[in-house]
Amino acid sequence: MPLVAGIDCGSGFTKALVVAQDSPGAELRILGRGRARSGINVDQAANDALDQALAGNARSDLNYIAGTGFGRYNLSFRDIAITEITTAARGAYYLFPRPGAVLDIGSQTTRAIAVKENGRVNTFKSNDKCAAGSGMFIARAAKYLEVPLEQVGELSLHAAHSHPISSVCAVLAESEIINHVSSGVSVEDILRGIHDSLADRAGALLKRVGLHGELTFIGGVAHQQGMVRALEQRLNVKVNVAEDCEFVCALGAALLGLRRLASRN
């Protein structure tokens, strides 16, 4: 029974997932998940995340480790490094096996990926130049509003209106947000405005790769229900979100790792 780990070394968090497949073609079993803040030492974060994901299994039982994400080349104990574009498409297609587009919003990068019928990448576009449109934008806004990041998604759902935000820059948005607060706009309405503006920016990126079929939304920001609703309303598409939205790249890496292992044996 091969045991494979996928480790996604993201810029904000490192996610690890351990899977087992009892026999070739058999259904995949996810044994555990782990998550650790990436910090500056990739190996250390990956070790932390992997130890959680092993869920009692011994490290020495692992047959293969596939690394992905921003820090994958700094992961010293990997068997293979795969780009997060490929792993995102593979993981998303495994969960929602239909062609369409994948939107990945992480803490520092936003990506739109068009996925073919077989789960392979057709084309992709990403924005990693600045925090506009990334999870960092929301994290900053939450900080200015003094709201815990975990509550952002829920609060935005309860907005009565969407209060638009014009700043693209996460830093310059601070004064705009403070102005909104001092002029009496509710925190909920401001957060919804932020989700709407991020959805529009994601929509522009998706348009460039072609948004056909369903949209699978992955990455840490997909946890925010307000963002999911904003995407559905602004882009007028059905949005799939997996419970494990943050682990999709790790899952894709593990799947590709399994295949690599099978072809090696």
């Binding site: 520092q108 130049k129 600045c130 925090a131 693209v168 996460a170 310059l172 004064s175 403070i178």
Partner: protein, 279 residues
């Protein structure tokens, strides 16, 4: 003596300047500077009041007041408003005669202005969408480094091997800085890397107006010697910075005020005006 005022209500700081004209010429009489804060109107009033006190005159002695800057329409006592683009060009033309390009780096925006032979605006470009090239960016970088904003300029002049900074995003540069610090890079080399990255970005904006010499830098960021040097390095030519660089918008506004009072003058007459350009 005719006295006129310019009040520049910036996004971060508010500047006021009084100029006076008599038979001997036009002189800057006094200046004041304060944080704009949330109450824009009050900041403008206080800046104007302090400026009058510094000159030892009462507000009623001031014949005309021109407001400029992003908060100019909030000035309760101003007679008229002008854009900060015109004011920076006018101020630079007066204090640094021969100026053909102004690079203005303020608290929340960065601009490049093409200036004509008589101080008129030929063209301008502006970045107010992104904090790169603004004081806000540098304040943030200084904070991450654990340094004061006034310390980063002199510090970066000591750099020997500037690091490479790939991003000009204020948010992302934080992780770049932290990762260089953890690698044991010297603070001066990191700061110089940051200044060079911002200089490149600012000049790629500025190249959209024709960068003609003389190039004068204005705005609060002009106080940062490290930033000035980095711009000179990337541009390959000297940049003029006067002690009044941060007040340039207010100086320009005050000169427009003086013209409204009927005091017309040609700034080349004041070629000998104290211009403390750097060598």
């Amino acid at each position: 003596m005719r006295i006129a005022a310019g009040v520049d209500v910036g996004s971060t700081q508010t500047k006021a300047v009084l100029v006076g004209a008599n038979g001997d010429g036009v002189k800057v009489l006094s200046r004041s500077l304060m944080d704009t804060g949330a109450n824009v109107r009050k900041a403008a009033e206080r800046a104007f009041d302090e400026c009058c006190q510094a000159a030892g005159i009462s507000q009623s002695d001031v014949g005309f007041v021109v407001g400029t800057g992003y908060g100019r329409y909030n000035i309760s006592f101003g007679h008229t408003q002008m854009t900060e683009i015109s004011c920076h060009a006018r101020g630079a033309h007066f204090l640094c005669p021969g100026t053909r390009t102004v690079i203005d780096m303020g608290g929340q925006d960065a601009k490049a202005i093409g200036v004509g032979p008589s101080g008129e605006v030929l063209d301008f470009v502006m970045n107010d969408k992104c904090a790169a090239g603004t004081g806000r960016f540098l304040a943030n970088a200084a904070e991450v480094m654990g340094l004061g904003l006034d310390d980063i300029g002199p510090l970066s002049l000591r750099a020997t091997r500037p690091v490479k900074i790939a991003t000009v995003c204020t948010v992302f540069v934080e992780s770049d800085i932290l990762s260089y610090l953890s690698q044991g890079k010297k603070p001066e080399d990191i700061m110089e890397g940051v200044h060079l990255a911002i200089a490149k970005r600012t000049l790629s904006l500025a190249r959209r107006v024709n960068i003609e010499p003389l190039v004068t830098m204005t705005g609060g960021v002009a106080r940062n010697i490290g930033m000035v040097r980095a711009l000179e390095t990337v541009l390959g030519q000297k940049i003029i910075v006067t002690a009044d660089a941060q007040f340039m918008g207010a100086v320009g506004a005050a000169l427009f005020s003086l013209e409204k009072l009927g005091e017309s003058f040609e700034s080349t007459v004041w070629r000998d005006h104290a211009v403390s350009s750097r060598d």
